[in-house]
Amino acid sequence: MKIGFYPGCSLTGSSREYNESLLAIAKGAGVELCEIEDWSCCGATAAHNLNKELSLSLPARNLALAELENMDELVVPCAACFNRLVMTQHELSEKEDLKKQVSDKLQMPLKNNIKIVNVLQFLEEHIVPRLDQLVKSPLTIDVACYYGCLLVRPQKVMKNERFEDPMLMDVIMQKLGANAIDWPFKTECCGAGFSVSKTEIVGELSGKIVRNATDRGAKAIVVACPMCHSNLDMRRPAINTYLNMKMDIPVIYITQAIALAMGLTPRQAGIQRHFVPVNLTVNR
């Protein structure tokens, strides 16, 4: 089985540590990820908001490339890219004429049937079954698993049974030895694409999330989305301004948590790249 890999732009830049930690655990677990040759940006919210055509053709280009490389499934760790790819696949599968138009423009065949998986689905299928052997130093802290919007919505396409209270990440964290707390902000929005243009909105929305996690005793917030991460971590000054207090709860990627539990060094997991210092040695 050939597992394709679409990193997306963030993972080559501001979310480099997400990429590093994912590849590190895949390697550690002996799972090969094949990066799509010459992949391009999915268009993100920008194309989605301004240019309907691009919002379909950009993701479709990557799907077509993955098909050309005969990939059986495609891992898309960035939740935003994942959402765009899945939504594109969904829309094109419902509209045959549109699919043909896009395929013509790409000058590539498009079967539009590749299985697209997000990082949690990937972990569940390929890493979780091996966790028993892989976990060397269990994490013994209380964590708040934060899913954000893009992994669970729209419910009709994502088909998550517990879209108000997803549990997949919680289950993985429990397997790493951590205690995933029950909290109500799992799927609240962090402010997403407004990081640069409306930073004060991010401050408020992410602030509420950070505050609730802290209030409920979490010692770290675990995420699976570069946008969520940059808003909760890099935008901490805006958060602190909104909350009028200094919050120091760290935000880590689920892949980093696994990497650490597997005994990789914090540097291998890319922890040093965070704005909010990470110290996970606090015992419960």
């Binding site: 517990r162 879209f163 108000e164 209270d165 029950d182 109500p184 902000f185 609730n212 209030d215």
Partner: protein
């Protein structure tokens, strides 16, 4: 030879405006076997009917075709007219020249030609009609009432008071239903149990009512006037004749932590229990699922303490067969399940409760003795939020309909809360206030104006807990859709009324139809609101659709009166349009080969066996036989029979074939 009379009705101008009635009559008159043909302005009028009657007598007609409106309209009229003139009523057929012709086509040659075709078709059919005679069926004057809530209680008392026997079957250990759980009732705020319990006692003491609690319908066979019901009496594990209801066993039972169904999980009960103090019958049952003896083989405390020796651990379910003439279904409703509200945290947060749970909190007989205390810590909530339409009018949750009772009980809940917690603040999120009923609107206004309940028009999107408060995120659509956040101590969801689990299965057992939400369907939404599609089975209360107490009681009395009307005659007369298995001279006797596939296709189990014996009494053939009391005349067996050995009177193979041939050969 056939002597058919054809009578073409103009229906004023209704038919004649587009169909040339005179020509239809004239053309029909030329058909072979037609003795007499005429058109007339109003065939259903007295003179019109006289025309038919006279023709029957004077011309010696053997069959009649009336070309007029739909047979669904006037077939009984014209058949009766024929009968009065001495012609067997089943020798009369109708051609539908109005609904199926003149009203749906423009005036032209093709329309008249179609009318001629329709008349010719029915003429060919009627030539093959045979005189038929109504079937008389005796009536068993006992009613089966299923469900012992207020609907079943009312229906039982009405039928019993009319002098007929009633068997009331209730699945729980006590009758009383949801009404017994309610605190006070809108719009008068009288205590629910105070008005209900006298009725419950009346049922128990009525000489004409036989009460079977802890029992369920297992099977229903037969048809109107003569049903045979099998009732499963679940083992109560006590001898009811010996038990005197002293209650020693329930106080001594060591298993005490079972969530009480009656108190909607807000209180507990023992394994041997009486659901509530006023229960009828006031005798306990053992809940086998939770009893230590049944589960682990040890205990028997109840047996030791019982002064009359009434405990029977070895009791088994008992099946009893009863014969009844009518059935009233009064199985009530249920409320939507907690798992359906993930965004409201129901099931996750203890202080998010349903309206029914609030009823128990507000009830003087409830777990808090009528004080409004929240389930998590027993504190009196200072701020309480009611959410109307929790599930109702919500297609995404599978319930597009309005549950009808929530607007009123939510107003009542807020009112009761304000009466009991004077300094408290209450909020109701609502979409519309539906208060159509006597004194209902006034009641809601009182809640708003006098009791200062805050009505906020908008739905709640999410409820979550933060710092010990329930944060309710809603909206006020009347303030330019301003988002509203309330920090509440308790939230009450007016969760949707849904059909009882098992309603579908019960409907199938009784062959009554049900809607897509599993509420039982009435025979006609306007004119037959208490009848079902199955004759002799009637509906009462919320099993048909959500409804409040006054409406339920009215419908129950309606259903009861339908049963009483049925019982007012000693025998029923039914149309003889039923299936028959053919008979032929020896040695064939019948062309039926006895494969009995018709029997498995019959929806009414109306097909049985008949043994054909020779003179020495030796069985020479086993063939199918239709029970005329059970057959409803659908004809499924007829279409299925390979050798055409079974046929249906009034729609026989010959008749239908003749119609097809006549209809298609018009040149």
């Amino acid at each position: 030879m056939s002597k058919i009379g054809v009578f073409i009705c103009h229906c004023g101008e209704n038919i004649n405006a587009t169909v040339d009635c005179a020509r239809v009559a004239k053309t029909a008159g030329e058909l072979e076997g037609v003795e007499y043909s005429i058109d007339y302005k109003y065939m259903c009028s007295d003179p019109g009917q006289t025309l038919i009657k006279q023709a029957i007598k004077e011309k010696g007609l053997t069959g009649v075709v009336v070309g007029s409106c739909s047979p669904r309209m006037h077939e009984p009229t014209f058949r009766k007219a024929c009968q009065e003139a001495g012609l067997n009523p089943f020798m009369c057929e109708m051609a539908n020249l109005r609904e199926h012709c003149s009203w749906v086509h423009d005036k032209n040659e093709a329309t008249t030609q179609k009318a001629i075709d329709l008349v010719r078709t029915l003429v060919e059919k009627v030539k093959l009609n045979k005189p038929l005679y109504s079937i008389k069926v005796p009536v068993t004057k006992t009613a089966l009432v299923i469900g012992g809530g207020i609907a079943g209680i009312q229906a039982s008392l009405d039928i019993a008071n009319a002098g007929h026997q009633v068997i009331l079957v209730e699945k729980d250990p006590s009758i009383g239903g949801h009404m017994s759980q309610l605190s006070e009732t809108f719009p008068t705020l009288d205590c629910s149990q105070c008005i209900l319990t006298p009725r419950m006692v009346e049922v128990a003491q009525h000489p004409n009512i036989k009460l079977l609690t802890y029992a369920e319908l297992e099977k229903l066979e037969g048809s109107i006037g003569n049903f045979k019901a099998t009732i499963r009496k679940k083992a109560k594990s006590i001898d009811e004749n010996l038990c005197n209801g002293c209650g020693t066993c329930t106080t001594k039972c060591p298993t005490k932590k079972i969530p009480s169904e009656f108190n909607t999980g807000l209180g507990t009960r023992t394994a041997i229990y009486v659901p509530f103090p006023q229960a009828v019958p006031n005798k306990p049952v053992i809940d086998k699922e939770n009893c230590s003896y049944y589960q682990k083989g040890k205990c028997k405390v109840c047996e030791k303490v019982c002064p009359t020796g009434a405990i029977r651990f070895d009791q088994e379910d008992e099946l009893v067969e009863i014969e009844v003439g009518a059935v009233v279904i009064a199985t009530g409703f249920n409320i939507m399940q907690p798992s359906e509200f993930p965004e409201y945290g129901y099931g996750k947060y203890k202080d998010v409760i349903t309206g029914l749970q609030f009823e128990r909190l507000a009830s003087a007989s409830g777990p808090t003795l009528g004080e409004i205390r929240r389930p998590s810590d027993g504190k009196i909530p200072e701020k309480i939020v009611f959410v109307a339409c929790a599930g109702s009018r919500d297609p995404a949750k599978g319930i597009p309909y309005c549950s009808k009772i929530c607007c009123m009980y939510t107003a009542k809940h807020a009112m009761l809360y304000q009466h009991k917690v004077h300094h408290g603040k209450s909020y109701i999120f609502y979409m519309d206030i539906r208060a159509a009923g006597k004194n209902y609107e006034e009641f809601v206004r009182r809640a708003i104006v006098d009791d200062e309940v805050n009505y906020i028009r908008g739905r709640v999107s999410k409820i979550y807990e933060e710092n010990g408060k329930l944060i309710v995120r809603g909206v006020d659509t009347l303030l330019n859709a301003k988002p509203v956040e309330i920090e509440a101590d308790m939230v009450v969801l007016a969760s949707a009324a849904i059909a009882n689990p098992g309603a579908e299965e019960l409907a199938q057992k009784m062959h009554v139809s049900y809607d897509s939400y599993h509420f039982f369907s009435e025979a006609h939404p306007k004119l037959k609101p208490v009848e079902t599609n199955t004759a002799g089975i009637f509906l009462a209360g919320a099993c048909q659709a959500p409804k409040d107490i006054p409406e339920t009681v009215s419908q129950a009395s309606g259903a009861a009166s339908k049963a009483i009307i049925l019982f007012s005659k000693d025998e029923l007369s039914r149309d003889p349009l039923i299936a028959v298995v053919n008979r032929s001279p020896a040695p064939v006797f019948s062309t039926c080969v006895g494969c009995f596939m018709c029997a498995s296709a019959c929806p009414y189990q109306a097909i049985g066996e008949e043994l054909i014996t020779n003179r020495q009494g030796k069985v020479i053939k086993k063939v199918a036989k239709v029970n005329p009391g059970l057959c409803q005349g659908c004809g499924t067996c007829v279409a299925f029979c390979r050798s055409k050995s079974i046929d249906i009177q009034g729609y026989s193979n010959e008749q239908m074939c003749a119609e097809v041939v006549a209809l298609l050969n018009n040149d």
